[in-house]
Subunit: 113 residues, 2 copies
Amino acid sequence: MVNYNDQQLNQIFSALSDSTRRAMLLRLTDEAMSVADLSKPFKISKPAITKHLKVLEKSGLLSRTIEGRVHRCKLEPEPLAVVSEWVSFYEKFWNTRLDALNTYFTEEGKKKK
Amino acid sequence: MVNYNDQQLNQIFSALSDSTRRAMLLRLTDEAMSVADLSKPFKISKPAITKHLKVLEKSGLLSRTIEGRVHRCKLEPEPLAVVSEWVSFYEKFWNTRLDALNTYFTEEGKKKK
DNA sequence: ATTATAGTACACCTTATGGTTAACTATAAT
DNA sequence: ATTATAGTTAACCATAAGGTGTACTATAAT
């Protein structure tokens, strides 16, 4: 898989740390759409939208194709795969914790029997 | 699983968007350790370390137990499970993309045969 | 009692972030 | 040719983030 460096991870996590941007990504899972359509649910100014789009674009989470005066925005999921890969390393830690919890309750169950 | 709200996701992603903090988390996967031990690889001032620890603590990624004058820092993986859950929703999007790629190469393979 | 160590709190600085309004460019429609 | 629409750019503002040095608190060691 692609080897993203620290700075790129910074950018991706930073892009994801804003509710509006995450909502934008979610909206784009349905379908690619224009900036106007994409920004409909958000009660912020157009320049604010532009800035959010730039952040998403720079982090690689969004691409756009310009068709006339309309910018068609598309979700680019690869950085999310990178996040998934990054976080998967830690999976064992919450698993062992759940295992410990599980063992605890199993032992409790045994005692009651 | 726990239902984290938008603001908590903001905090978690924001905490993860800094190289130093991610390196701290990685260090803590080996073992829980004091602030001094934890901060050894980082060439920043002690107050800077304190700040990073606070960010990690507020996001739930780190806990500490005070033993005398030593603060023992421990990795708390639950927020990472939340990230994993959040990102898992998008898995289908990079899977379908990889599938498409796979199909493409498979078709190419057929042509060559 | 004094000194060393672990860590935080405070005040400050610089840059980044998220928002605004006003003005602009470029395409589309009348 | 004029007007409307899609979107960006520029200048500005307030607050947050990440860093610093100095001063402080609290525990441990001599």
